[in-house]
Symmetry: C2
Subunit: 230 residues, 2 copies
DNA sequence: TGTACATCAGTGAACGCGCGTTCACTGATGTAC
DNA sequence: TGTACATCAGTGAACGCGCGTTCACTGATGTAC
């Protein structure tokens, strides 16, 4: 069944709204995102946007999901290019993809990994799946390495019981056979990647401290790979 | 020379403004911070605040410096309690102090480590020194360990020339004798701490993924200590 | 194929709100003689 | 110690701005018979 002209127009307008929202995000940040400005850019009276979006918060949610998915696509795309690579190569592919996307889209990176927008809480049911795509990709690399017997034992001391329970729940949820210790390391790898990229994107080192931040990041990826046993 | 009553009143009002600004930050975030609201809370007409603060941006700068310094004080205080501890113990003290402060003051943590406030750029000359206190403390631990011969060699492959130049500049600036490789690791340690704390403070793991985030963080500090050679 | 009705996109006005900043002013506190 | 003047804190009104959201409406597109 082909979409009617009206349906096509509606879908096009929907896409335009998200696109214009993205552009606004880049200019004035999430807290300043405004439906009226989107309407203006769309060439339409402000109340017309309400035909497409119930409220400002709903637009924010669309943009959050959009950003998570584009990051997820970037990571999946990078992984596809090294489908037969070693775990280490695939780990580097994920790390570099996250950095490149964040540098290209600092505002959207900030939307999903920066300060939460005050008064706005992303609805978990709609946000959870796209929000976990990168960590799921990292866990996939880990699991694959483990099944291939390419994983060194983790250098971790015993995990406290509370943490082990949480990690076992994750193992069960995703059907992982890799040990809980490696999952604890994977959590560090993920938060460290985001932390390192955040510092660079938001310029939290002094602005002229590192002339070659890519080189620093590569070193960090290597250290993290070492922790995982790649 | 004793401060005159007028001067005392002025200083008290200054402190009140910063305090009220902090409270607002906690409620509506940095982007929503408003001089009018501060004036209201202060019980004064909105234009009166301009006697104390030149603009909204100047108030933001005050709050940024205030936040950096309180975090720095928290870290220094924690370090003072383990002045004779091992490098590893001191490393843990810093890591825990950062986490505790961030959890106690999520909005101010977000102000200095989260998405930059759109349209606002902190003046570097006023922000640099307080903004580097924690990393300077970390470097101090590293240097002390190195001078005491308590530092294992770093497991890092050769650093690229560009990075080595930057790191040598840092070594010169702070008079460090520890090798550049360890500084590269220290950068990861710092960004990783902030990354891990950010995930917890901003609830970027799923909200019920980790029931005992403190335990996870301890594991991460241990991994980072291992990387440093502590 | 043509008509009658329903659906939908977009309009324009309005409500009530908050913001940063400027300006001429009043009245109290401080200072020089 | 007392007077004349300068400094300063705070007032109140105003400027011009943008926001989210609601509502009754017009006119075009789609659908059922």
């Amino acid at each position: 069944m082909v979409a009617s002209p009206r349906e096509q127009a509606r879908e096009q307008t929907m896409r335009d709204i998200v696109r214009l929202g993205r552009e606004q995000l880049a200019q004035i940040g999430p807290a300043g995102l405004s439906l009226r400005a989107v309407a203006r850019d769309l060439g339409v009276v402000s109340s017309a946007v309400y035909r497409y979006v119930k409220s400002r918060d709903e637009l924010l949610t669309l943009l959050v999901v959009d950003a998570y998915n584009e990051l997820g696509d970037a990571v999946d795309g990078a992984l596809a290019k090294v489908a037969d690579g070693t775990p280490r190569e695939r780990h580097f592919a994920v790390g570099r993809a996250v950095r490149h996307w964040a540098l290209a889209e600092p505002a959207r990176f900030g939307l999903i990994f920066g300060t939460p927008v005050p008064g706005y809480a992303a609805p978990a049911d709609v946000t959870n799946e796209p929000g976990t795509r990168v960590i799921v990709a990292l866990l996939g690399i880990l699991e694959q390495a483990h099944r291939a017997g390419q994983l060194e034992a983790s250098a971790l001391a015993a995990l406290p019981q509370s943490l082990r329970v949480d990690l076992d729940a994750i193992r069960a949820e995703y059907g992982l056979t890799v040990d809980a210790e490696h999952l604890a390391v994977a959590a560090l790898v993920w938060t460290s990647m985001v932390g390192a990229v955040t510092f660079e994107v938001f310029d939290q080192f002094g602005s002229d401290t590192f002339t070659d931040p890519a080189a620093l990041y590569e070193i960090h990826l290597a250290l993290l790979a070492g922790l995982l046993g790649f």
